[in-house]
């Protein structure tokens, strides 16, 4: 198993970013959800807007809702999405 996590984006986030999934290399500075979010906000353009702004973004680790301080490890499936609107 490589030192990667899959990162998935849904709904308006997916459209704004023009990306529905990617693999991310874990480093010592990337060990929680918060770290990943900060890392993504350092990218240019819409990434900075989406992850560096005040938008309410929900996140999940391995298909369970997860808070920002949740630890992540190699092989995890991480997801970011806007507040849900089903039903």
């Amino acid at each position: 198993m490589s030192d990667q996590v899959s990162v998935l984006y849904f709904a308006s986030l997916r459209e704004q970013l023009g990306c529905d999934r990617e693999d991310l290399q874990l480093t010592d500075e990337l060990s929680t959800l918060e770290d990943v979010q900060r890392h993504l906000a350092e990218r240019q353009g819409s990434w900075q807007v989406v992850f560096g702004g005040s938008a309410n973004i929900l996140s999940a680790v391995n298909q369970q809702m997860a808070r920002a301080d949740t630890a992540i490890k190699a092989g995890d499936e991480v997801a970011f999405f806007p507040p849900v609107t089903g039903g």
Binding site: L8, F10, A11, S12, A60, Q63, Q64, M65, A79, F81, P82, P83, V84, T85, G86, G87
Partner: protein
Amino acid sequence: MQTEDFSIDEIHSELRQRAGDCGAIVSFVGLVREFDEDASIQSMTLEHYPGMTEKALADIADKASQRWSLGGISIIHRVGTLAAGDQIVVVATASAHRRDAFEAAEFIMDYLKTDAPFWKKERTSQGERWVEQRHSDLSSTERWHK
């Protein structure tokens, strides 16, 4: 999760067979509105998170089963593109006691609205837009926390 429409009759029949001796069945059906904030809705597309959505719904059903005495629960949520007036979701609960069936169905809908990964995009007379979560949906779920 399914793209096809569902029949409320079939859901009731299936639940009655599965639930055993229950005197009460409560069902909620959610429909695509024809108007939203004065814009007429031409169609609506429902996106979900395959894998997580199933887990989230199973988790909500489990919570309801622990809290109330239920003979059975059915949840069907459609995904894909729907037209105004189409059925989106059905939640049905069977119980020996009507209050349990009512409360459990409402609990499941409230949690589904805040915890299950579905997103609606409307195609209206004024263009496309992602539906925003309403604050009232969050407070509906919060009232079950006590």
